[in-house]
């Protein structure tokens, strides 16, 4: 996973509530066997006409937002389906950070697994960022989002922050607890012998 420290780039304001993962990446693109290549289908149904032409009014079809690396949005971002294709699509498009007043739990987790930083800020601060001129800077070590002279601090759990700063492989981290896992399994087999699937 790619580490995340600071990011300066174009922030696209998609300021609606409850952006669900079906909207981020619709069903017809979930048959892929790989993680890459979903960026061109990001927000497909509101980005293209049924015939596949770009809808000129849609944010990400306009300059400068075609090159956005940050997304500003409304509350409960990423609700619905657990599909990790949603962060894969954002990442493949070039989005490394989503700023919203709140996130749905599964999407929030999926972001960290992919080196995307989900930033929680109050809606009124996000509105100010959306109106500010120029590029936006996200500084993870300092936990700030700044744009056009405005700067807001955000909170992030220390373990989450460390994961992103180091671009850590979570599986490798859990493998460090192998002795604990083995001890747990031995204990559980004795305490709850019915847990073997089919009595095995």
């Amino acid at each position: 996973m790619k580490a995340f420290t600071t990011l300066t780039g174009i922030a696209a304001p998609l300021l609606r509530a409850n952006v669900d993962t079906d909207l981020i990446i619709p069903k017809q693109f979930l048959t892929t066997l790989v993680r890459s290549g979903l960026g061109r289908h990001l927000f497909h149904e509101i980005r293209y006409s049924p015939g596949g032409r770009e809808l000129p009014d849609f944010l990400l079809n306009r300059e400068p937002y075609r090159k956005a690396t940050i997304l500003l949005s409304g509350p409960n971002f990423g609700c619905g389906s657990s599909r990790e294709h949603a962060p894969w699509a954002l990442l493949d498009f070039g989005i490394r950070c989503v700023v919203a007043p709140s996130f749905a739990d599964i999407f929030f987790n999926n972001c960290f697994a992919n080196g995307i930083l989900p930033v929680v800020l109050p809606a009124e601060q996000i509105a100010q960022l959306a109106e500010a001129e120029g590029p936006l800077t996200v500084n993870l070590p300092a936990q700030t989002v700044s744009c056009g002279g405005r700067s807001f601090r955000f909170e992030i759990e220390p373990a989450r922050k460390a994961t992103l700063l180091e671009g850590m492989d979570e599986i490798k981290r859990s493998e460090a607890n192998l002795a604990d896992i083995e001890a747990y399994e031995t204990r559980r087999r004795a305490e709850a012998p019915w847990l073997g699937v089919g009595g095995n």
Partner: protein, 470 residues
């Protein structure tokens, strides 16, 4: 020890380690795997040179993109076929138990797990699917995960987790006639909103929950995620044990007795502290129907489409306006006056035998209205077989419904079961998001009885007023 909630108890029993940074490593007992969210996980494992720690603790089945007609002839859509073939190759290579597509036990992963006795009380259950919350009906801590976490569980049989908040949902009163678990779920979500349970595990309590069958409890827990909670729980009781007993993968003999003795301890202690509590009054509740593009936008069948002018603020007004525009609805329209062109009865929410019986009661001796296309998709091959043994397939076919093979089907339309733009559907599924059942499709969430009633009426109608013999 201080009083604990059911969630606390399951958490404590599955705690493998607490790490220096404050995160906890939780053991995962059961892992359900399907074709859509697993290929990248298997690939990741192989690339990293890792193996599956406990392949026997996995149950895999293809459900999301499989055809629901003529599947004996194979899968016509090439990308869907390749994905199912990838699952078959992966489970073979890694020794993972798999239910083949043409097996009677095949079906929606959340119908199959409980049916096979794979889902047990007090266990942790995960799946790369948000509706894993379904299994909470057994008093199992069950939640959806992303593909990276699928890979994590395959490799380590654990997940790093943060403790969730305890949210108690107390349903007051008994269920009125012709309302059920689906109406309870929709009513709750209407009350707390789709983010109401974010960061929480919801425990469902109250006499109406106790009175629910296991299938009803699964319907209720299934939609926990639509209320923002990753997991929902119902404390196990005799109803639970009677359902699990004798299932193929459930413990037997002495192990069964030991298991039940333990499972009886799995209830929130008197005086256990909940972070939040929500009370939902079921007295006088009418069957529920959603009108918008989020499950929280729901009303009584006797209600009307809301007027954006009545919105609490500008933001809400704009949201309602966009939803009404997408749904093609005028403010103040009575719900019963809204015509439909499609009906979908099925999904992990309402694709079980009791759901089909309920719908068949309404369909019996009636005809699907002209211009309406109605699908019945059983949740599994075993549900289909049972329904056919009871003659329900004949009831549906004679009424003009299509009787399909099991799968997720039109709940999300990954296979060819999709709606055309502008088509309005009474659906027993769980999400009415924009485009969920096909680009431009308009989904209204209802119970199986209400879906069948809409099918024969050609518009939403109050099933309580129909002459139906229970």
């Amino acid at each position: 020890m201080s009083p604990r909630t059911l969630y606390d108890k399951i958490w404590d029993e599955h705690l493998v380690a607490t790490r220096a940074d404050g995160t906890s490593l939780i053991y995962i007992d059961r892992h359900l795997v399907h074709e859509v969210t697993s290929p990248q996980a298997f690939e990741g494992l192989v690339l990293a040179g890792r193996t599956l720690r406990r392949p026997a603790n996995i149950l895999s089945v293809a459900d999301h993109n499989v055809p629901t007609v003529d599947r004996e002839k194979g899968i016509a859509d090439e990308t869907c076929r390749l994905q199912v073939e990838a699952l078959e190759a992966n489970v073979k290579a890694h020794g993972v138990p798999y239910i083949p597509l043409l097996d009677d036990r095949q079906g929606i992963v959340h119908v199959v797990g409980p049916e096979q006795g794979f889902t047990l009380p007090g266990t942790t259950v995960v799946c790369g699917d948000s509706h894993t919350s379904t299994h909470g009906a057994f008093g199992a801590l069950a939640f959806g995960i992303g593909t990276s976490e699928v890979e994590h569980v395959m490799a380590t049989q654990t997940l790093p987790q943060r403790r969730s908040k305890n949210l108690r949902v107390r349903f007051e009163g008994d269920l009125p006639e012709w309302t059920g678990a689906k109406d309870m779920a929709l009513r709750l979500i209407g009350q707390i909103g789709t983010a109401g349970g974010t960061g929480c595990v919801m425990e469902y309590t109250g006499p109406a929950v106790r009175a629910l069958t296991m299938e009803g409890r699964m319907t209720l827990c299934n939609m926990s995620i639509e209320g923002g909670a990753r997991a929902g729980l119902v404390a196990p009781d005799d109803t639970t044990f009677a359902y699990v007993a004798g299932r193929p993968l459930a413990p037997k003999g002495e192990l069964w007795d030991a298991a039940v003795a333990h499972w009886r301890t799995l209830a929130s202690d008197p005086g256990a502290a909940f972070d939040q509590e929500v009370v939902v009054d079921l007295r006088g509740m009418a069957p529920q129907v959603t009108w918008g593009t989020s499950p929280q936008w729901v009303t009584d069948i006797t209600g009307r489409v809301p007027d954006p002018a009545q919105a609490r603020n500008a933001e809400e007004r704009e949201s309602i306006l966009r939803a009404l525009d997408y749904m093609g609805l005028e403010p103040d329209t009575p719900m019963e006056a809204i015509p439909i062109q499609a009906v979908f009865i099925g999904s992990c929410t309402n694709g079980r035998i009791e759901d089909l019986r309920e719908a068949a009661l309404v369909a019996r001796g009636r005809k699907v209205a002209q211009g309406v296309r109605a699908l019945v998709v059983p949740g599994s091959g075993l549900v289909k077989k049972q329904a056919e043994a009871e003659g329900l397939d004949r009831v549906f076919l004679e009424a003009g419904f299509e009787w399909r093979q099991p799968g997720c089907s039109m709940c999300l339309g990954m296979n060819e079961d999709r709606l055309e733009a502008g088509v309005r559907c009474a659906s027993t599924s769980n999400r009415n998001f924009e485009g969920r059942q096909g680009r431009g499709s308009r989904t209204h969430l209802v119970s199986p009885a209400m879906a069948a009633a809409a099918a024969v009426a050609g518009h939403f109608t109050d099933v309580r007023r129909m002459e139906v013999q229970r």
